[in-house]
Symmetry: none
Subunit: 250 residues, 2 copies
Amino acid sequence: MRTVRQVARAAGISVRTLHHYDAIGLLKPGHVGANGYRYYGREELLRLQQILFYRELGLPLAEIAAVLDDPAFDPLTALREHRAALEGRIGHYRTLIRTIDRTIASLEKDEDMEDNDYYAGIAPETRDRWQREAEEFWGKDAVAAAAAKARSFSKEQVAAIQAEMESIRADFQRLFREGAAPASDAVQAVTDRHYRWVSHSWTPDAAAFKGLGRYYVENPEFRGTYDDGELPGCPEFIAEAMAVYADRSL
Amino acid sequence: MRTVRQVARAAGISVRTLHHYDAIGLLKPGHVGANGYRYYGREELLRLQQILFYRELGLPLAEIAAVLDDPAFDPLTALREHRAALEGRIGHYRTLIRTIDRTIASLEKDEDMEDNDYYAGIAPETRDRWQREAEEFWGKDAVAAAAAKARSFSKEQVAAIQAEMESIRADFQRLFREGAAPASDAVQAVTDRHYRWVSHSWTPDAAAFKGLGRYYVENPEFRGTYDDGELPGCPEFIAEAMAVYADRSL
DNA sequence: CTTGACCCTCACGCTGCGTCATCCCCGATA
DNA sequence: TATCGGGGATGACGCAGCGTGAGGGTCAAG
């Protein structure tokens, strides 16, 4: 029969943790003295070792309780699910790291750039053509307003915005390759980010957002941006996702 | 001037989130009406875009506030630190996954095994090699005695013992990462647990315990167990702790 | 009997909102 | 003008897993 402190020292945890485990019913002391003192026996120590093992693996305490208390609950299943969850997190973090790398790269480049232009790095004649096309599509005023707004961003903001667009594009392409449905949650989530991205310089309504989607399909320049020469149908996929998004959320 | 709902829809976040950002001072409305209504202008929307961008990268809100509010605070630095933190988490998760894989393997093997073998889940040829190496190191008799003792445990005991070893290993690695001294109380406490763990099947004297430490350093199999491919020096650290322990307590 | 070392029970804090519950406000309609 | 529906606002609890006091009994030793 060991006291909380003795158990805590032996197991390398805190007394508070034992209190907590007792409170949530994960590990109750073998005996409780008349004075309220907790006493732990061999059995509890073994259970504690099990708990700490699973905890080390990152399983939530509730899962641990389920594994230990429900004999029908298969630890193999629990571990495999947990493993999958961990891999998912790793993938997520890797995506974040890639985006950060791109942001860092463009921030570093930006430091020796003078103006804050979204389209820095793109040939002037191309930019002019884009502008003419955009004006035809949405009107001169809208384009001018968007451009003015764009110029108001700081270098960091521009860099962040560029990086975000790269990330969105990559996500769209990945989902397209994976065969996701335009109306699926995953695709719609990316579409939402895309909508917010567009909103940096312009706040389109449902019709305008759908129009932008069609623009991606019809304009060869944009097609090339999204299909990368090897993803035919990707622009249509994105346009469809945008149409769904517009109908649902705008 | 947009209301909370309008901003929330446009940005794809919830009204509650805006309330929250206001409460913690991350994003305050441009104006607050006499009725207490929050109104957001262009400036606030721009700031919100920035916030959401960094949030996607996984930066905590406090960090975001620092980046946006302190002009002296370099976003490059913040991003690089965050990147490093993400990589750290990835490494941690990978370690967990390896441990889980080992556990799954031993659980699976255990199911069609009759005897309670410590090294369930490890390929027979590997076990044989370990055995030969151990016999060279400590002698045939000692190894045979240890093996016999090991077979006397129940399944639960074996599981507990395995769990304890995992826990000890994790503690050693953590302490090593934290830069603890081999002779420090914390490290010696874990070393004591390790000594007691070893004693399950074998009661080494001071010289033998030190020898086991050297074995951890020299044997690539054990090195890999302790340095996990990213903690070079960890085996030496443990060996040193064991030597100190042996001199002091054995 | 007094320490000093332990034990106990609250209970807030941290992260980032989700989710009610309760109540106020505003524009449009009957 | 009374009313109603769609917001808007302010608490406040909940979640995960304890850390960290606060305030107050208990116990063994001197």
